[in-house]
């Protein structure tokens, strides 16, 4: 893994195909909403396609896509918070999720989501980019606008806290 130089993005379709599951996984972890995550991932990848077609090939495709995904996921989360009361009201009038549907939601995902929710936002951002998005420290630093050492520190702190939280809940 690691940053791809501009000369390496010759196979745009290959790059997009490789990045798609990673950025989708990241958006899914950020938002917890598959449809919203797909929108965010698609917009971020489309931005890379546009940049490449217009000649403005980014130095690191991964950092470029994840920086956009991060920003768009943030905006999507904010918009969702804004609409949440309305969505709750509509959901209350429609049917509740079936027991089967509830059973589908993995316990593990819920546990990890809760543990991630306990992390400080800055640490959560870093661990999601590195662990879930699969970015190198250098690319995560570029996407977050931080130094590599700062990202390393955040990721390390997040890993320690996550491990401890998950152990607590397991035990």
């Amino acid at each position: 893994m690691g940053g791809q130089g501009s000369s390496e993005i010759v196979d745009l379709e290959g790059t997009i195909a490789e990045l798609a599951p990673r950025v989708l996984r990241y958006a899914n972890a950020r938002l917890g909403d598959t449809a919203l995550a797909e929108d965010v991932a698609q917009e971020s990848l489309a931005a890379l396609v546009r940049a490449c077609r217009n000649g403005g090939v980014p130095r690191s495709a991964e950092a470029f896509v994840f920086a956009i995904a991060r920003r768009r996921a943030g905006r999507a989360a904010w918009r969702r918070r804004l609409w949440a009361p309305l969505e709750l009201a509509v959901a209350a009038r429609t049917e509740a999720p079936s027991p089967e549907a509830r059973a589908i939601v993995k316990d593990e995902v819920l546990r990890i989501r809760r543990a991630l929710g306990r992390l400080p936002t800055r640490d959560r951002e870093a661990i999601l980019l590195v662990a879930v998005g699969g970015l190198s420290m250098a690319d995560a630093a570029a996407a977050l606008g931080l130094s590599i050492s700062a990202v390393k520190m955040r990721v390390s702190r997040a890993r320690a806290r996550l491990a401890s939280t998950l152990e607590e809940r397991h035990g």
Binding site: L12, A20, A29, V49, L166
Partner: protein
């Protein structure tokens, strides 16, 4: 990726949020196909940015040029008006229906009373 003690934790996180491969393929395909539509929207965005900018420039130019523009020149036309002197005041009915009353101080060269033809040169307001 670097080997680190949190490798298993990272794998656990990745597995928890692993997307459906078909969804990922769909996202990739749509991102690649969206180019044309985005380009059209790009033109709209450019137009939306250019139009207000052009309007602002036009407004700025107008604001600069308007005060510095010379006042419109009105060519004087000779008009014959009939007026009268009454108690030293020159009273002239004007073509627009108003009456001009001038004077007040009695001048020796001005008749105290009478009628006559008054030649006025200048802008008629």
């Amino acid at each position: 990726m670097d080997d680190h003690p949190g490798l298993s934790l990272d794998r656990r996180l990745r597995d928890a949020f692993d997307p459906d491969p078909r969804a990922a393929a769909g996202v990739a395909a749509r991102a690649l196909a969206e180019r044309a539509a985005r380009r059209r929207r790009g033109w709209l965005r450019v137009a939306a940015a250019v139009c207000p900018a052009a309007a602002l420039v036009a407004l700025a130019v107008a604001l600069v040029r308007w005060p510095s523009a010379p006042a419109p020149q009105v060519e004087p036309t000779p008009v014959s008006l009939s007026g009268s002197f009454t108690d030293g005041l020159l009273i002239v009915p004007l073509p627009d229906g108003s009456v001009s009353i001038t004077g007040g101080d009695v001048r020796l060269d001005r008749p105290q009373d009478g009628y006559g033809i008054v030649l006025v040169e200048g802008e008629l307001r």
